[in-house]
Amino acid sequence: MSRDAILGRIREALSVKTDAHVREVAKQSSHSLPVLANGPDGRTQAVKEFLPFVGESLEDHIAAFNVLSDKLQTEFIVVPTIDSARQTLDQLRQKHQWERVGIHDHELVQSCVDQLPVEFLNTSSNYDAHELEKCDVGISGCDALIAQTASALVTNHSAGGRALSVLPPHHVVVADASQMVTTMADGFAMIREKHHEKWPSFISFITGPSRTADIERVLVLGAHGPKKLTIIMISE
């Protein structure tokens, strides 16, 4: 079979060791540098020691998340309680005239939207994508917020499937402060812990509203996905 043929060719090719000189180049640098040990720990650590520093405390993380969100044009709102999250959502509803709202079975989401006077579409079981497309907004949970990149980390479990967070023109994420982590590696670790050997089929880091700059490098939001991204974090 082709599998054996290709793997065989790879093995044969690799029977000759990489030229030492070329291998060295990838390690050299004109500056003197700290280089961490190779292997998984070395690289996870690299994420901490080489990538941008965003502090240790929750306050630091929120501050960093805020700065990047501004740049990304993500609307990042920190509210004290679930109650205030409800109010925020209701204000958003009025402002953007939401009538149909996509949601899913998610404790935090459910408790935030239970009083919204709108029509709901729940994507936690079979649903019609055409109906979802007609929704004004999709409201979902997430697995983590990543301080280093201002991303919301979602899976199809935490975000009501693959499409809820990308098909409607506005995506709202609700999260609580305990979900804020430092790096993407921390985010992966959380998912690893939660799902162990049964990974969800879809994981995504969402970093700002959909965008393109394909025409003369001019930034346009909402190329195909949501034009707006709102992240509401409950701090208590």
Partner: protein
């Protein structure tokens, strides 16, 4: 880019045309300058960008040097979760595999998100010939597809076009309103494509990485088109080169920011999604089938080269194009390859034959800007040199060049002859004065655009003697 002319001639001709187009060149340059400014600022945020490059480069070395193990692991994990993996030795096999899946589902329309590998195997041509509707959903790709053109740059496919040209195109092909506002133009495309996602039977994507440990592909994008392509149609086909593997999931935490920083200057692109398998039992949407088509297509030939397998570590960020003075002045189409710029010049001779593509290795001043910027530290410009060595070793330089080099060696090893040549050169310079500026002047290629100083009256050697 006609297929009939040989690649070297086509390159020279197109290079002549583009370098003469001062306006287009400065348009390219100014847009790449914008890229450079954003990227520099993003790099600045790193605690240590140099070390991050080394670490990212290491992750890819580990993958490439153990590719057999990791690739098998990747496939096994994916299959365990219900995906089908197809192993294809060349373009034809990959095309057949994809066509089979599409036919089996009785599909009519196909939506695609950006995937250079499908360009490599000329998938669109085949599918259209077979009567399927194929729509590129990435905005840049969508634009070049409407123009019936190849992508200009493998990260910025439509970077050569001005908004006025896109306006004309959209009016003509989409009957759209008259506007050259990039936002309005984008919205025109958005509306057209929305409907396609909902109705397409098949979604085809590429993959930026394949995670061996967990059996997932990772797709990096900004627009959300890849997410829609892999969420809505009932079948998802991903085509990926076998070199895209990385060992562990956590490696992405480094690779994704590196790809974004080097690629577009963003700290992270908008969507970075990992897909492992079709819709699972406890999930509410997603394709019912997922196929991953693995493509060799001479990558193993490159892998067998103990020096240049280095180039298989490429994460296709496009940074080397963005800083390359050759790319900036000849543009993307001149290359005539799927992968443009320095990385294209390095790998194309391996993928498609050195004899026809060695000119790409010579069309470089070896300035090294590419290697300096590559986020995984591929020794790009030295590989161009190694390609030159291999071409010369096979006698592909031609007789004249070989003779010249032989002469060079003989002269340079004999100081008396070197001196004599210097004097003869001066004499020659005087004797050829009448033909200077004409085509038979031995320095014609130089002097057409540049002056050449008259040789110094006194050589340094003579001066040195007189000093004593």
């Amino acid at each position: 880019m006609s297929q009939s002319t040989n690649p070297t001639t086509q390159f020279q001709t197109d290079a002549n045309r583009v370098t003469a187009d001062v306006d287009r060149r400065s348009f390219l340059r100014s847009s790449l300058r914008g890229y450079q400014t954003t990227r520099d600022a993003t790099q600045e945020r790193f605690l240590n960008y140099e070390s991050a490059r080394i670490a990212a480069g290491d992750a890819k070395w580990e993958a490439i040097e153990n590719l057999d193990v990791y690739l098998a692991q990747f496939a096994d994990k994916l299959e365990a979760r219900g995906a089908t993996v197809h192993w294809c030795s060349d373009s034809a096999e990959a095309r057949d595999a994809i066509l089979d899946i599409i036919k089996k589902h009785d599909a009519k329309s196909v939506i695609k998100s950006k995937c250079m590998t499908t360009e490599e195997i000329h998938l669109n041509d085949l599918l259209e010939k077979e009567g399927f509707e194929v729509v590129e959903s990435d905005l840049g790709e969508f634009i070049v597809q409407l123009r019936d053109e190849a992508p200009y740059h493998f990260v910025f496919p439509a970077m050569h076009l001005k908004k006025e040209e896109i306006n004309t195109l959209f009016q003509e092909k989409l009957k759209s309103i008259n506007t050259d506002d990039p936002e309005e133009l984008t919205m025109v495309a958005r509306e057209v494509l929305r409907q396609k996602y909902l109705s397409a039977d098949i979604g085809i994507s590429g993959a930026n990485f394949g995670v061996a440990e967990t059996g997932m592909i990772s797709i990096t994008e900004n627009e959300g088109n890849a997410r829609l392509t892999t969420s809505l149609p009932k079948v998802h086909i991903a085509l990926m080169g076998i070199e895209k593997i990385i060992p562990r999931l956590e490696d992405l935490a480094l690779m994704l920011p590196m790809l974004a920083t080097a690629g577009t200057g963003q700290h992270l692109t908008c969507y970075n999604s990992q897909l492992g398998g079709p819709r699972q039992d406890d999930e509410s949407d997603g394709p019912v089938e997922m196929h991953v088509v693995l493509l060799d297509n001479h990558r193993t030939r490159l892998l067998a080269d103990p020096e240049q397998r280095d180039a298989l570590r490429c994460i296709r960020c496009g940074a080397c194009l963005n800083v390359c003075p050759i790319f900036k002045n000849v543009g993307g189409h001149t290359y005539g390859t799927t992968y443009q710029g320095p990385i294209g010049s390095v790998i194309t001779p391996h993928l498609r034959g050195l004899k026809d593509w060695k000119h790409l290795s010579h069309s470089s001043s070896l300035c090294g800007a590419c290697s300096e910027t590559c986020p995984v530290k591929i020794d790009l410009h030295h590989h161009l040199l190694r390609n030159r060595r291999d071409a010369a070793g096979k006698g592909q330089g031609g007789l004249a060049e070989r003779t010249l080099m032989l002469g060079f060696t003989i002269v340079m090893r004999r100081p008396w002859l070197y001196r004599l040549t210097g004097r003869l050169g001066k004499l020659g310079h005087v004797l050829t004065k009448p033909i200077h500026g004409t085509r038979i002047d031995p320095f014609y290629a130089w002097k057409k655009t540049r002056d050449l100083d008259d040789p110094a009256k006194q050589s340094f050697k003579q001066y040195w003697k007189s000093r004593k």
